[in-house]
Symmetry: C2
Subunit: 434 residues, 2 copies
C-alpha cells in the first residue's frame, strides 16, 4: 500500500481548524453584506491566456495544464483577474458601481514555508466602477469593521497613495526609471529600519542627499491632517503629488464621516506595497501583536479591471488572506476553539429506550441544539459516555427505564462532574441556557 | 484584445445565482451541524496516484497535470477519495465514528451538457466507522430534513440494498458474473419502464423466464414492512439477501424511531444506483416535480474509505449536488430570488449632508440592515435614486437639509410608489419590520 499524503503547501483542514475558518468567513461575509457587497463565484480554472502577461517574473508560479481537448488551462492565481474577466463578459448584467465579494482558493507554485501556501484562500472585497474617495473610504471601513468583529486587538491601517511615493522620489531628484528602486527600498522600512533603507537606496543608485531627503519625508508622522499638511508643503511643486494628497485628504474625510475610529488608521508615507498595479490609495493593516508582517492590504487599481473590457474601470479593493488570519488568530487565541459542532450527546440505554432517546434528540435539534446520538446500542452506556467525552461534547443525556418512567432525563455535564435528573420538558431550556 | 471567456462546463455564478447557492449550502450546513457533523476541507489538488485505479473507464475524465517539481497531480474527482486519504493520514486525531461534512468543487473532463458540468460543487455528508443501521437511518434523516428545509415539495427517498438486488439476480438463476448486466438494466427502470428493462435483460443474456421473475420482484410495491416481508418470502433461500432484508428492516425501524415521516421513504427493490462501490444500503431521493431524474443519492460503502488505511472502515453517506439542487430550485421557484444583498440605499443630498447620511447608514448596519450608500455625491439625487432602483433595493432614504433640520428621513419604498417622512429615530424599526 502506497502511503499517500496531501501535497506539500496544500493543507487539509480538520474540524477544529475548519470551525475557526468558517467563523472567519462568516464574519467577513456578514460585514461585506452589511455594506451591500454581492457574492461572485468564478471557476478555479481559467484559460491560461487570461492569466498570462500580467505577472512578470511571477508568471512561472502559475499552475498550467492542458484539458482533454488540448486547451491550455491554469489554476487561478488570484481572484482579481477573474473579476476583470467577469466585468467584461457580463457588462450588460452588472450595474456599476458594483460591490462584489468573492471567497475561494487560489494557487501559486511557491516554495512552501510558514504562512506561505500553494493553495490559499482569499476573501476579496472590491468596489468596481467608482473613482470616488468615498469608495476608498468604504473599503477601509469594511476592513476595520471586519478586524474588529474578528476581535483583533490594537490594529491600525496605514494609508498612503502611489503618487505620494512617486512625488517623494521625484522631489528627491529621481526620475521615473529610478522610482522602482525607491519603492522597493521604502517597502522594507519596517523590516530594515531607517539605516537599512538608506543603504538599500544608496545601493540602488540614489545619491546620499536624496536618500536623506526621502528618509525624512517617509518618516513624517502624526495625526493624518498634520502629516498631509506637512507633505503638501514639501511636495507643493509636484502636481501629481498634490493631487494625490488632496485625494488622501478626501479619503480620510470619508473615514471620519463613516465613523471609523481615529486610532484605526494613520497616513504613513513609508507604505509602498509591492504590487505594481496600484494607481491610487494603498493601505495595509498591521498589529503589534503580529510582528511578522501585515495582516492584509489593498488599494486602488484603476487600470487592471478594465483590461479585458478594453477601457479603464476604476476599482478599489482588498483581499483578506484567510490562511494568514487563521494563523494569527490561532496564535493570538481569537475566535472559537471548538473541535466539535455538537453540544449534546444522547445515549441509548437499550433497545427499549431507543425511540424515546431518538425523539429527545430530534426535539433538541428542532430547538436549535446540535445533538449527537449513540449509534451502537449494543455498546452500553459506559462506552457511549466515553465517546461523548472524546468528541468534546458538553452534555451527555441518559434516558434509562427509570427516567423514562418518571418523565425525566439525566443530564451529565462533561466539563464539570455534575449530573442531575431534570424533567424532560425542561431539558431543551437547560441546554440552550448553559 | 483577445476575447476571453470562462471555460465551457465551468460556470461563473453572478450574485443572484450565488445568493441561492449560499442559501442552499447554509441550510445543508445547519442540518448537518444539528446532527453533530463536523466540517473537513481538503485541497482541490491531490497526487494523481491517489485518484488512479479506482474509476475504471472514467479514469480518463480526471484532470491531470505536473507541478513545478515534475510531480503528477490531479484535480479531485469527488470528495470521497480525499476523505479516505484523510482517515488514513490522521487516524490518531479522528475519533470514530466520525460524522463529517465537506463542501467544495470537484472536476471531471466530461462533455458539458444541461445539468452536467466540468466544475461542480458537492456537499458531502458521511458517517465514517460505523456499520450500525442507525447510521444509515441518520444519513437518510439528514437527507430528508435538508430537502424539507430547502422547501422541496413531495419528494420521496427510495431505499434498497445491494444484496437485495444481488439476491434477486441469484434467485432468477443468474451467477455473479451476469449480475452486473442485471443491475445496469434495472437501474434504467424509471427511464425505460418494465418492457424496456425486459428487452435490456434479454439482450444481456438473461433467459425470458428469469427476466419475468426479476421484473416481478423489482416491482414489489407498498408499505416498507409489506415489501420487506414479500421479498423475504421470495428470497428466503438466499442467505445474503435475507441478511440484507434484515438490515433494511433495521434501517426502516431507525427512520421510524427518528421520526422521519412515512411518506418520505419507500423500499424500492428496483433501485440499483450506478456506482459499484456500494456494499449495503443504497438510496435515491426523487420528486415528481423533477421528472428528469433523481435529486441525489448515496449509500453504504464499507470497502472504499479504508483503502488507504489498509483495513475496511464501514461508511455510509451521500453527496448533495449543489448544481443539481440549484437548477431544480430555480426551475421550481424555491429559495431566495434576490439579486442584491442590500435592503436600503442611503442617498447623499450634498456635501453638507454627507456626515449625517453616512452616520445613518452606519446605524442601520449596526442594527442589522444591509445598507448601500451613494458614492458619487456630485451625481445628484435623481441619479442616486435610479442606482438604488437598478440595484433592486427595497428602500431609498433621503436626508435633505429640511429633513435634517426636522430630525426626519424620507423613506421611499421602491417597490410601491410610497414615500413618507419618518422620524429619524424610527427608521431602523421601520426597515427591519417591513
Amino acid at each position: 500500500m502506497t502511503k499517500i499524503q496531501n501535497i506539500k503547501g496544500m493543507r487539509d483542514h480538520l474540524p477544529q481548524a475548519m470551525l475557526l475558518r468558517q467563523h472567519i468567513v462568516g464574519v467577513l461575509t456578514q460585514v461585506a453584506e452589511r455594506h451591500g457587497f454581492e457574492p461572485l463565484q468564478t471557476p478555479v480554472v481559467e484559460y491560461a491566456e487570461a492569466l498570462e502577461g500580467k505577472l512578470g517574473d511571477d508568471e512561472k508560479l502559475i499552475y498550467r495544464f492542458e484539458d482533454h481537448g488540448g486547451r491550455r488551462l491554469a489554476l487561478r492565481y488570484d481572484q482579481t483577474v477573474p473579476l476583470a474577466r467577469v466585468v467584461a463578459q457580463y457588462a450588460g448584467q452588472l450595474a456599476l458601481p458594483w460591490r462584489r465579494y468573492a471567497y475561494g482558493p487560489s494557487y501559486r507554485g511557491e516554495r512552501p514555508a510558514r504562512g506561505r501556501y500553494r493553495e490559499f484562500y482569499q476573501f476579496d472585497v472590491d468596489i468596481v466602477g467608482s473613482n470616488a474617495p468615498l469608495a476608498d473610504a468604504e473599503i477601509v471601513a469594511v476592513l476595520t469593521e471586519s478586524l474588529e468583529a474578528l476581535g483583533f486587538p490594537g490594529f491600525t491601517t496605514l494609508l498612503n497613495h502611489r503618487q505620494v511615493i512617486g512625488g517623494i522620489a521625484r522631489a528627491s531628484g529621481l526620475d521615473e526609471a529610478a522610482a522602482g528602486g525607491v519603492y522597493r527600498a521604502i517597502d522594507k522600512f519596517d523590516k530594515l529600519g531607517a539605516d537599512g533603507v538608506r543603504e538599500e537606496l544608496l545601493r540602488s543608485g540614489v545619491a546620499p542627499g536624496a536618500a536623506d531627503q526621502i528618509l525624512a519625508l517617509v518618516q513624517t508622522n502624526g495625526d493624518p491632517g498634520d502629516v498631509l499638511e506637512e507633505l503638501s508643503g514639501r511636495l507643493a511643486a509636484d502636481a501629481r503629488a498634490v493631487a494625490a494628497l488632496e485625494n488622501l485628504r478626501a479619503v480620510v474625510a470619508g473615514l471620519v464621516e463613516m465613523g471609523v475610529a481615529p486610532e484605526r488608521y494613520r497616513v504613513a508615507p513609508r507604505l509602498a506595497r509591492g504590487l505594481s498595479y496600484y494607481t491610487g490609495l494603498v493601505f495595509e493593516a498591521i498589529t503589534p501583536h503580529w510582528p511578522e508582517g501585515s495582516l492584509l492590504g489593498g488599494g486602488r487599481y484603476d487600470e487592471l479591471i478594465g483590461q479585458f473590457a478594453g477601457r479603464p474601470i476604476p476599482t478599489v479593493g482588498l483581499a483578506f488572506g484567510i490562511d494568514r488570519l487563521h494563523d494569527v488568530m490561532e496564535e493570538l487565541g481569537l475566535g472559537p476553539r471548538s473541535s466539535t459542532t455538537a453540544r449534546a450527546y444522547v445515549t441509548i440505554f437499550g433497545p427499549g429506550q431507543a425511540a424515546a432517546s431518538l425523539a429527545l434528540a430530534r426535539e433538541l435539534r428542532a430547538g436549535g441544539v446540535n445533538t449527537l446520538i449513540a449509534l451502537d446500542i449494543a455498546a452500553g452506556l459506559g462506552k457511549q459516555l466515553k465517546e461523548a467525552d472524546r468528541k468534546g461534547v458538553r452534555f451527555a443525556l441518559v434516558l434509562g427505564p427509570d427516567e423514562l418512567a418518571r418523565g425525566e432525563v439525566i443530564v451529565k455535564d462533561l466539563r464539570g462532574d455534575g449530573q442531575r435528573s431534570v424533567p424532560r420538558t425542561a431539558v431543551l431550556e437547560l441546554l440552550r441556557g448553559e
